[in-house]
Every structure is written in C-alpha cells, then in structure tokens.
Symmetry: C2
Subunit: 147 residues, 2 copies
C-alpha cells in the first residue's frame, strides 16, 4: 500500500500502531485495570493466537511492557505512551455513545474524587474558544502565527 | 469473532464502523475538505477497489452521504455523525504527534479566527478538574452520583 504518499504522518502512523481491530479494545481493558493474558482473553473473547500477536506488536511499539508478576504469569503494563491513548479511547467512546449505541452505555466514567462525570472532550483553541470543524484550519508548521 | 461478549458496546461497535485501517484517513481528508472519489484516491494513494468498499460502508453507516455535485461526479459529504469524528481524529493526531512522529508534523491546526493553535484534548471532569487515568473510575450507569 502506498502509505508513504500520505503527506501528514500522524494519523497514518498512529493507525499502523493501534489501528488493528482488537488493539484499542485491548488497550481499553488495560487502561481500566486488566493486566494478564487470561484477563484480556476472557473479557474480550478474542482468539488466543490473535491476542498473542496483538500483544506482541504492542510491546514492539512500546505501548505495553512485559512486567514480572511474582508468580509464573507475566503481566502487561501500559507504558506512558500506552497510557496516553486514554484520550483516543475516550474520544471513541463518546462518539459511540452518541451515534452508535443510542440505548446508552451500561457504564459511565466518573472522577474518583467526587463522582463527577467525565466531561465530553471538546476541541478548543489554546485561548479557550470552543471550535467546530468550520473554525479549524490546517497550516504548514512553519507558518508564522499572528496571534 | 465473539464480539458479543464485550460488555460495553461503545468502543467495539465504534470500531465496527470506523476501525478499518483506511477509514479514519478517508474521514480525516473529508473533515479537511476533500469530497470526491478521485481526491481521496489521489491524496491517500489507496487502491480504487478498497476506497470504493470503504466509502460504501461509510455511507451505509450514515457517516457519509452521497451528494449531487452539478456535474457528473458525485460528492461524498460527512453527515453530523461523520463530522463528530473530528474529536477522534484530533485525539489520534495528538497522540501520533507526541509518540509516533517525534520529528514533528508538517502541519498544525489553528483557529481560523485568529490563528491560535488548537489545544491538546485533555480529559476533565464536568467540574473542570483535569483528569489522569488514575482519577477515572468506571461505574454502572445507574450509579447514584453524590456530586
């Protein structure tokens, strides 16, 4: 595939690392506490060979690291790079909640401190203005900003 | 695949709609102005048969609609559901910018009003507290919030 021709690498190369169907589901489980092969396997109902391949790729990409776990089992821990996928998972979740699962989700996310709900992610400018698609422009990075 | 067993539908069903490798790239192009088959094809370097299949699925999922375009070509327009994927695309972009493309991206996103940069998306609670992964808890939706 001529992925090279894509001018801006970020989305394309991100999808190279996390774009396989199961990958973001495995990461979601890890973000919310799962650590062991058997836990991922049981929760997701994913075939063992696929889970093995996905975990191996995620370790190779530096999203998971293998961690000793006392006993004979080894655990998978998210690295900082992996934990930073929280925003991607939350963005997908809120899109799905609005458009794909109209009956609503069985769970919600809250701030552990006071049970306040997690707010929807909203694009804003650095000065705080809420942005819709029509407000956003792509410019070359070298562009001199007037602001 | 036993996708049914996944307890919370949102991520899984979202990925059923937008989880194919090319799909979010096509949507990114559409978010930033591309409308025609030939434009998607040229910019992404995607095989015509794959692009045809992806566009057809996206129309079926209500993410694109076919729109008349004066001439013989038909355009693809994002629906509200499709435009709401902006947040997912921005989240992937910022993750990629930080972790996958360390040399930086060729472009940046700015507020068209004053060229202020688009801010990073950050999980917050509805009361405005900035949240890390450790702050977030999953609770059943029926859960009575104390706040």
């Amino acid at each position: 595939m001529a992925r090279k021709r894509i001018p801006d690498c970020s989305i394309a190369r991100s999808l190279d690392e996390v774009g396989e169907w199961w990958t973001l589901l495995i990461i979601r489980e890890a973000l919310f506490g799962k650590r062991h092969f058997a836990e991922f396997q049981r929760t997701l109902g994913i075939a063992r060979n696929i889970l093995t391949a996905r975990l191996r790729a995620l370790v190779r990409h530096g999203i998971f690291r293998r961690a000793p776990d006392g006993g004979r089992r080894r655990a998978y821990e998210l690295t900082d790079k992996g934990r930073d996928l929280l925003t991607v998972v939350l963005a997908l979740r809120q899109w799905g909640e609005r458009w794909v699962c109209p009956g609503g989700l069985a769970t919600e996310l809250v701030d552990a401190l006071d049970n306040t709900r997690v707010a929807r992610l909203e694009p804003r400018s650095e000065s705080g203005r809420r942005l819709t698609l029509a407000d956003i422009r792509i410019v070359p990075r070298a562009h001199q900003r007037r602001a």
